[in-house]
């Protein structure tokens, strides 16, 4: 099943995230990714929700019922730019250091901290590119990885 991306404009009020999350889980809907952050409009936040549901219409309607939800747009994947941020800490040693850093930077990651036995990379980009980086570095021993959740914007006006 293909992914569906919902861009949800909400009032920046306490408990909004809980309401959205509870609405989704209460109806038994699954989410692949959820990211929240401020927008350019005062008092408004944007949530980007990625699901794989056929019943996305019902999710939209249920979320729309929430008083603090202002608008929901389903993004058309063809005309959408997606981005996600990742922080990844991997073990290194004298032998692997060069090749790890090289592999990471070729993938588009930036090394932000390198110690004698670890390196931290930061990367921003499409989720599948972040997946690639993860797979690439897995053999060296990933100590910790955090991803920020996918955000997306429509390319057309």
């Amino acid at each position: 099943m293909s992914e569906r991306i919902l861009s949800v404009l909400v009032e920046d009020k306490p408990g909004v995230l809980a309401r959205v999350a509870s609405t989704i889980s209460r109806r038994g809907f699954n989410i692949n990714s959820l990211a929240v952050g401020p927008t350019n409009i005062q008092g408004r936040s944007k949530m980007t929700i990625v699901t794989e549901l056929e019943s996305v219409e019902q999710v939209k309607k249920q979320l729309n019922k929430l008083i603090n939800v202002i608008k929901i747009v389903e993004l058309d994947p063809e005309n959408t730019i997606e981005s996600e941020v990742l922080l990844l800490k991997v073990s290194i040693n004298k032998d692997t250091q060069t090749s790890v850093i090289e592999k990471a930077s070729l993938s588009g990651a930036k090394s932000v901290d390198v110690g004698s036995d670890y390196a931290v990379f930061e990367m921003t980009g499409a989720s599948k590119d972040l997946d690639k980086l993860e797979n690439l570095l897995k053999p060296f021993g990933i100590i910790e990885m955090i991803r920020g959740g996918r955000i997306a914007i429509q390319t057309k006006l």
């Binding site: 909400v10 009032e11 809980a18 309401r19 019902q58 309607k61 019922k65 929430l66 008083i67 202002i70």
Partner: protein, 570 residues
Amino acid sequence: MSEEKLSGAELVVRSLEYMNISTIFGLPGGAILPAYDPLYDSPIRHILARHEQGSGHMAEGYAQATGELGVVIATSGPGATNLITPLTNALMDSTPLLAITGQVASEAIGNDAFQEAYTVGLTMAATKHNYLITNAEEIPQILLEARHIATTGRPGPVLVDIPKDILNQKVEWIEPKLVDLPGYKPTLEPNPKMINQAADLIKKSEKPILYVGGGIIHSKANEELFELATKFQIPVVTTLMGRGAFPDGNELCFEMPGMHGNYTATTSIQKSDLLIAIGVRFDDRVTANPKFFAQNAKVIHADIDPAEIGKIREPEVPIVGDAKSVITGLIERLEGSDLKTTDWINELNQMKKDYPLSYIQEEKGPLKVPFVLEELQKLSDEDAIVVSGVGQHQMWISQHWNFTQPNTWLNSGGLGTMGYSLPAAIGAQAAYPDRQILALDGDGCFQMTCQELITASTENIPIKIVVFNNGNHGMVRQWQKIFYKNRFSASELTHHTPDYVALAESMGATGLRMIEKSDVKKVFEKMLEINDKPVLVECIVDPEDMVFPMVPAGGSNDVVILNEDDLKKL
């Protein structure tokens, strides 16, 4: 405005007065105490319930009888948690309710303070919306918003939680502004294109059915519905929540379909070629297994809540809008058309004759609930309000009582909350002191909230209660007979049964009892004469009686079990 400073508590009371609230229901406690002090001087009538669940159902009864906002007030912690059942009940049945709860002081929130409960979290899924107030200045505006949300669109319960320090905070009254919520703009006017499409389908239909529910009552659209049905000769079925939306007794009214609906109503939908569904939600008690529901029909589904449309059944014509506007639009578009539904109506009327609702009341045998109901209706007022519990008696009332006006049938449809009847009847009587309010309850249900009898007597609320004593959780017993080989696990109430008459008398009500057929008229006449205090009639009925017709949960509406013999079909 005035320079004088008011406490948050005074603002609460003043806001309620500002919104013309005349009656509220509640029970005090530490965190809400500041609000009870100004209430003492207010013209608002406060009815002291004996349990917060009772106060919540009272506010629901008030709201369902009047179509206006019901208000309930409770303290923090256990006061608030006791409200969860009525809140959820109101959410399921779309009843406009405002609940105001006290909360521990702001600085104590999150510390597991005495009587602290996370009320906003606990009631998030039990309300249409809820608030935690963090500054007393917001009180008037938020209460006005809360009323707006509760009473508009699809009505529902809204809770406002107010910490004790905020109730004591001194601020100025700020005149509330017109409510304008960016994320809440219910669609009332239907899209004319959809109305046209619906009208086109209706014109072409030979076997249309108007399948209508609580939405008609909330929208006060019963007169428009009557015009639509009678002008264009479209038969009507009314769901449990829609009883009274279209008058029983009219030749187009086929009453309630579904699990315990009558054969004709249920079957009419199965045979129909077009369901005109307005203010209904295709509840499983109506549809049984939706796969087999109305398989021959196209569907027009109109509802004020877009989330109801397509939730269970994808309609050919979806219409979002208020029932009144939708129906008015349909009447306009259908003007001049002549539907050929005579054969269809004749077919349904023949079916009604062939498959009537029936019961046998033997002269010397135990009383049957349907018989008792029919006798009671003969003696009671046309505009009497009937308030039911949940169980067999509820289904029999819906089947056998003739509802001719909206808001005369109050019951817990969506949640099926035992204990609803008595307190909801108190709420209805508080709204209409001079109407007959009949709480027709089961013995199991009655025992859940019977402490509110004392509320009724203390407040001079002369409701009339009939407890159908079959010594059982009758509906549970019925299922155990059918599905569990007569193993009556925990459904019998007879081992220690209260003396209902003595119980009534001990709570300041009159207690009466009926046992045989010859008692019925006499006792009801006596009951209906008592108008200065509550009266309770214990009506001892046949414990073995079962409600039919029946379509078992998850079954197909094509297979209606008509009587005990028919159970072999299962």
